[in-house]
Symmetry: C2
Subunit: 114 residues, 2 copies
Amino acid sequence: MVETAIEMDKAALILKLLGDQTRLTMLKILDRHACCVCEFVEIFQMSQPAISQHLRKLKDLGLVQEERKGQWIFYSINKYSGEYSFLQQVLDQLPNQDLKIIELEKNGTRISCC
Amino acid sequence: MVETAIEMDKAALILKLLGDQTRLTMLKILDRHACCVCEFVEIFQMSQPAISQHLRKLKDLGLVQEERKGQWIFYSINKYSGEYSFLQQVLDQLPNQDLKIIELEKNGTRISCC
DNA sequence: TTATCATATAATGATTTGCTTATATATTCA
DNA sequence: TGAATATATAAGCAAATCATTATATGATAA
């Protein structure tokens, strides 16, 4: 089956979410590493509700998914989203953000789940 | 020379502009056809100042350029923008909008400049 | 020159956005 | 069970956004 192009309205909704530096960086990080809320709080030095609200928007559009592991909820890219390849084409053009994860590991604030 | 990745903050600024259905459609149209303001007014059924303001934002980021031809000002994609390839990767994923130009031609509202 | 057409800019207002603080819910651990 | 930790949700507010109407600017044509 041929992959159908994304609709303009759906594309605009997604791009609007990507048009925020916090969410854009979140997605670039999630593209390679599942993360929980408290890690993003550390990375962005932003309040926990602010982080949760950003993730909620990404989840509402189906771009990310969540999985609870104990007391933490890990977010990751939803590879089964109908717009995954659209998203991926954008993220692929952005600079790698692994350094932010490496810094968490140095700080000892990286949550390594079982 | 290796093409450097776009910076996150610049990417976010561009994506924010793309995250509006009017501007996103404008850019997809401009990707194949230079257009003037009055054509967009017809296409989007929106006031002339609203169209001008959208184009201003696109021009401020260097995504489009303008060229006066007589009383009209034609806008087109700025292929010499440093972010042209970034923009192009997004636009390439969107459905073709040529129908909007074809409808202008049917209406007789397409401006064919000399 | 004056009227007309195309466009830009300014001022305004309703809506949306992105944070904050306060509070609720869910899990873990002593 | 009760305290601590992680997260979500609600309410509120300042700033940004996107349209509108009014007006200014610039080009063309009578």
